[in-house]
Symmetry: C2
DNA sequence: TTCGTTTATCGTCGATAGACGATAGAACAA
DNA sequence: TTGTTCTATCGTCTATCGACGATAAACGAA
């Protein structure tokens, strides 16, 4: 079992908002740290962006490290492994040419 | 660009509930059609289950085909391709040679 | 036709999410 | 010390979610 239903649902819910997808994309495209630039990029109030960052951090998708006056945010991709495994399990015939159709164990 | 932020967020939001993860798992484990058995399996009221099915269907994750008196539900895995691509794009580093469907510890 | 079965929709309720402005806290510069 | 900058939290509001029971709609059987 790649993960519990609640664990997967929590990860999916954390990604279930366009602003948070945008934030993740920004972090993906930014090699190093990124701080208040996120606020300008997403076009929302600073408090709203901070709330989205808190949700992503609570889900373990990102990590925030205090670096001087600002905070260094970075992705924590491993946190999405249960969700990725779940989605991969139900998309065997995709053109990814990736995984063999491994038989599921009974649950 | 695998998909728009809203498209990915909608897919993630549709998966952002434990009951819907459970429904998808049931459909995954059931080769053929499945109808009212879902209600018994998830342990919620029939109207609630119908609502979850409606959400999953609206997101394109499942499809319902009328088959006599009941409805045949089946997965539509291709709908999750944008979300799968998004998650895969931000997990290039460890563990993903490509295959390895489960990143669980092996001992 | 009527009856039974299965699914979808409606109405309502409480809980949660999402947005904002305002404020508080932390770290550096001068 | 003061001042500036950046981030987190608080309070409040509206909108949406999730659950339920009740009801309607569609279909097959009798």
């Amino acid at each position: 079992m790649p993960g519990s239903n609640e664990q997967i649902a929590d990860l999916a819910k954390a990604l279930g908002h366009p602003a948070r997808i945008r934030i993740v994309r920004l972090l993906m495209a930014t090699p190093g740290c990124i701080g208040g630039d996120i606020v300008n990029a997403v076009g929302l109030a600073q408090s709203t962006v901070s709330e989205h960052l808190r949700i992503l951090k609570a889900a373990g998708i990102i990590s925030g490290e205090i670096s001087g006056p600002k905070v260094c945010y970075a992705l924590t991709p491993d946190a999405l492994a249960p969700l990725a495994a779940f989605i991969a399990a139900l998309t065997p015939p995709t053109g990814t040419g990736c995984c063999l159709p491994v038989a599921e164990e009974r649950s």
